[in-house]
Symmetry: C2
């Protein structure tokens, strides 16, 4: 019963934030009536109406914890979701992972076409930085520039883009455990870490809570990706809303491949424990971040 109540509460909290972010994205994403409208539609297709909105949840929960108004943090959350959406659109392309199904719907290049999908990803990535840099995000320009710098560092060649580069070539590389962990810290962990840290930055946090949330995000991101791989290896396609078993088939580097299913699950739980330890200084107000940590390792999709 306690577990059912927990699941109900965290799913309600996720849905709350998903609703707020969806409304923000509706307004922030363009929809012109010129001949370029097709790329606007593809950008909206990639971002609206789906996804757990984990990164927005982390940003808004961290910002709330440190006293930032939702009207600011929701813009940062929407920007992170644009970057997450762009990364999925580009990763799904035929030249990359060649996926046709995402969140139970055709991927962007299937629903539109490859050129439009490439441009939609480019447009989302660019818009994310435009939103972060806009005065409505924070009155202090130094905070806005800080947000851009930290998100760009996480999304770029030293983070997500670099991780995807390794992942694309991983079949040829046979990574060991350290190599897989580094790949995942770049490919998924960096943006999840940035989501937590950005919540602190938009709240004008001091360096100690900012560092704690950054460290929390890094561990949580690791737990999230390991569980993703566990679900891919053991889950079913209907619950996941995308093809499963593809990692193994594609020779992708995962901790399941290195440690086995149970070893990977234990590694995820260890990461989650380490994440929770970084929240100790925040006391009971960090309950939402504790709940999402538990949710991440207990989820079935």
């Amino acid at each position: 019963m306690a577990d059912a109540a927990f699941a109900h509460d965290i799913e309600a909290a996720l849905a709350d934030i998903a609703g707020a972010v969806e409304r923000a994205l509706e307004v922030l994403l363009p929809l012109g009536d010129g001949p370029e409208r097709r790329v606007h539609e593809a950008m909206r297709y990639a971002c609206l109406g789906g996804g757990k909105r984990l990164r927005p949840f982390l940003t808004m929960s961290a910002a709330w914890l440190l006293g930032a108004p939702d009207a600011r943090s929701v813009r940062v959350a929407a920007a992170l979701e644009m970057i997450h959406g762009y990364s999925l659109v580009h990763d799904d392309l035929p030249a990359m992972d060649d996926d046709t199904l995402r969140r139970g719907r055709p991927t962007c290049h299937i629903a539109f076409d490859e050129a439009t999908a490439i441009l939609a990803g480019d447009g989302l990535l660019t818009l994310a930085f435009e939103v972060l840099a806009a005065p409505a995000t924070h009155p202090d320009g130094a905070v806005r520039a800080d947000l851009v710098a930290l998100v760009a560092a996480a999304a770029g060649a030293a983070g997500m883009v670099g991780g995807q580069m390794i992942d694309t070539a991983a079949a040829e590389q046979r990574l060991d455990e350290a190599g897989v962990r580094r790949l995942q810290a770049m490919k998924t962990g960096a943006l999840i870490t940035a989501a937590c840290e950005a919540g602190a930055v938009v709240a004008g946090a001091a360096s100690a809570p900012r560092a704690a949330l950054r460290a929390f995000g890094a561990r949580l991101g690791a737990a999230f990706q390991i569980i993703d791989d566990v679900l891919d290896a053991s889950g079913n396609a209907a619950k996941m809303g995308k093809a499963v078993g593809k990692d193994r088939d594609a020779g992708k580097a995962t901790l399941v491949g290195v440690l086995g299913l149970e070893g990977a699950r234990a590694a995820a739980l260890a990461e989650a424990d380490a994440a929770l330890a970084h929240l100790d200084a925040f006391g009971p107000d960090a309950a939402r971040l504790r709940d999402i940590t538990r949710f991440v390792v207990e989820r079935e999709h």
Copy 2:
């Protein structure tokens, strides 16, 4: 003789700035030794060792005119060149313009592969914003955020990305003169305009000179693109360093198609005159910007 001396002077000035930007890019572009190194190499391939560096010339000349130190403006110039480089890499992809030759060398997806080229473009776009947002670009965070916002607006769905979307579909659309001009203002004009305006911003310019440089850039960008189309229709591949005649073959919308070769050339000269008029308030110090305007319409490649 006057013309030969002019060409010599402006080409020397372009080479000076190209050298400064090349050195800045060398330092700013990553080159790690992890398994992600391939994307770093592709990013460098796309940005180093080629191009006229027109956008950097505009940024640094505008910044110099308004008193900004080169150490700041060269970072802005390098960021703009990263965005220009990313746009060429993505535009050249098989799903887009499917070009195999650029600046006399194989395009990025030919020299590497398609996945790496997509990621290299993503990495360059992201790094550009990281560079603009970094404290080394300007000590005032509001200036840095302003730079990010204006460059993102120019590069995104309302600017370059939107223009490329129209261009990709133009063969089906039969644009009239106004439609072609709008497409070109988005696809090429927006980033050239941003290059001029960013020079003013990094110099901390007041709104009047900033607006004048923005207006100058918009006209110069139009002149540049029209001449590009004229050269594509009449030039030769060796001078251009890329395939020519492709616009017509691909049914691309150009002013040459709408106005004919001589009509397009006259339209470019009119844009250049309008550009020059916006420089009147700056007096003799704007000589470099006047020279580049003349160079843009007289160039043969």
